[in-house]
Symmetry: C2
Subunit: 463 residues, 2 copies
Amino acid sequence: MPQRNVKLDYAFCLDKILGEAGFGDTWFKEMAGQVADLHKQLQERHQAGELGFMDLAEQDLGEIKDLAGRIALMADNLVVLGIGGSALGATAVDMALKGVLRHGKPAEPGAMRLFVADNSDPRLFGELLDQLDLTRTVFNVVSKSGSTAETMSQFLVVRDILELKLGREEALKRLVFTTDPEKGNLRAIASDEPVAILNVPPNVGGRFSVLSPVGLLPLACAGHDVQVLLDGAAAMAADCGSGRLMKNPAYLLAALAMGFAGRGRNVLVMMPYASDLMGLAQWFAQLWAESLGKAVSLDGHQVNSGQTPVAAVGATDQHSQLQLYMEGPADKLIMFLTLGNYGRDLEIPGLYPEIEALSYLGGRTMAELIQAEARATAAALASQSRPSLGLRLPEIDEFVLGQVIYLLELATVMAGALLNINPLDQPGVELSKKLTYGLMGRKGFEDQAAHLDALETGGDYVI
Amino acid sequence: MPQRNVKLDYAFCLDKILGEAGFGDTWFKEMAGQVADLHKQLQERHQAGELGFMDLAEQDLGEIKDLAGRIALMADNLVVLGIGGSALGATAVDMALKGVLRHGKPAEPGAMRLFVADNSDPRLFGELLDQLDLTRTVFNVVSKSGSTAETMSQFLVVRDILELKLGREEALKRLVFTTDPEKGNLRAIASDEPVAILNVPPNVGGRFSVLSPVGLLPLACAGHDVQVLLDGAAAMAADCGSGRLMKNPAYLLAALAMGFAGRGRNVLVMMPYASDLMGLAQWFAQLWAESLGKAVSLDGHQVNSGQTPVAAVGATDQHSQLQLYMEGPADKLIMFLTLGNYGRDLEIPGLYPEIEALSYLGGRTMAELIQAEARATAAALASQSRPSLGLRLPEIDEFVLGQVIYLLELATVMAGALLNINPLDQPGVELSKKLTYGLMGRKGFEDQAAHLDALETGGDYVI
């Protein structure tokens, strides 16, 4: 088993650097006790089968690889029809591995293009369908329940177009469902129609599903080595098996983030210094927001927990957000993701030696520049007693991404335990869904439609 | 002059909807007085020449159009080398008008592809240069000072490659500078070398520059009607000339946002229900963050002002962020951007009538679905006393975008006035720049390098 090489640097969270704003020995000691106790709880929940994401590294990939192989024979494009946790993981990994500019293009000659259609936006979806040769396209419908309105509306549109164009038999060959092994509408449809189908383990929720068939089929189709993703997760899991705070990077990350949240830092910025990791930051934003943003009753009062994730990119957002991070409200913890190796580099030539503001760049490289900026920005923030964490990635590859994914998933679950909330549910999204059903005329939701009508103010408050 | 048709809906900010969390007559009255006073201040600052963005709608476009025409004759690609305010505006408008999937592709047969290289990331930039036919590419270097490290390092790399490949004369033909009319390194270089050059008005800062040559040259090259963008800005300006709060959508937006910020809502989410407006939300995130995130001294104490902008997309982020917005801390104001017309639509066919969770979708359209989701989500938030604003766009075109840009710029300046800070500077970004110079070995920054060395902890706090 290869060793984990993704590391967490927490120096800029310490009182010896930040003064009062940082944490010292007393805090770490008290937190270590809490985390040790919660670790036992998580172990019990894992043994009770609740934390399925922890077992994904052990899964057999035979079915996924076989199916990806069969898809590759008939298609140039794989389109994921999914939203939220059914979409963000595949986008994050594909964008990181191929780069922003080649996301949606072949990874290598012969590999398929991967598209993730994650919105019920008719302009976007119509444009995508226009661009594709549908005879050479497979659509992977991803929904555990098979009732997600955005995804199912896309599915219905595609199902109809394919059948009109190619006939029923050929249409069904171009569909793959990823869904619950027993329940839901996609399962019901597949019992009548011969559609290829993959199971999402019932104990793996959408936002923890990137290393399940939800993420792995699209990533395998796109030409990535999904076994190495799992190896990375396993390497991180091996190092995160301990209940000792200072030996477990996932727990330390969770403890520091929640510690700062408890001191009024209700925003967590994830800021990779690599444009290609923007998708990863957006994947994390779902994981952190939906898992930890919870209303709970405590002694008869409602407590609203959570920390708002913000996805930023360095060095770009130094020219957009840094002013706020430096001088705005002291309400943030920044998590920098840095790269030891960018995979390629460009030397900056020493032109215009007479211009002092340019000449210092000559002979250095662009990787040196962006790495210097990451280090300088963390130090600048520390000088204002503003904390940051450094997640250090040696490079971008499947093994590193597998580690990062597992680390952040486990950190999220520990953060939930520290907040004493359930990080696996999302009850707050139901009301909006029901009101949408009301507006769309679904039977049984007439009250919701009436509620919306009652809210209408007829343009009285529109200027 | 055409009339403004972008509207602001503030019903879900009112106490009659939200209860105590909302604003009522007393607040509006008191705010109207403040805004009327501050309007006079802004008028004075405008007359003193400080608020240059307010005059951009009047500019003559002859030079920009001529240059765009000449570039079109020699190039298929325009690459902007710029970062922050030199990049975000062109990306926002091009992505909105062409759509995410065609951003970086021709707007129409014969129009140029526009790329915005907004990071000093060697993998991203190297990949971009690999993809382009450099003989058919023009590089637009955008920097007021000509000392922005990220942009100038890109410029040096490109200048060298072009000259090696094509010789000096042909290389210089493929460069356009957009910079200060008198000062800075690009101006100095252009005085020795025959490079086409456009001026940024000195009283227009980067984040207010999208309607100056900074944004307009790239957008004209990409085939967009930049005069109509200015017409939109003029239409909004005409409606935002009043100092009366309830007659001025920019001032009302500012007052409500700062009013909620004053009640602990330190996060402002901009959430367009259109994937193609993600770039606009990121443009706004810079405008709001960098303008309002300021440390000021008040009676001997430091006050840290600002409101953290978050860019989200509906309906997508209903499956990522909505749980947090509904149940997490009551620290947010959401600004929804909705579209009356998506420009195209897809009918959802009535397949699987026996499945109740799908059949209600049959016969409706995807535009109806996403519009229903926007309305339902705002109402769901309101039911939890969580405020939102609705910015209603009839459709996406140059005229609408021009209106939105002007509205948000003026709102930002009024918000700065309400906070009693200067929205036009960004002193907080200097320290990170100086520390970067130290690491890059620039002369005169040896103390900064030493400061960083002193912060090194040799891996003691890395796990």
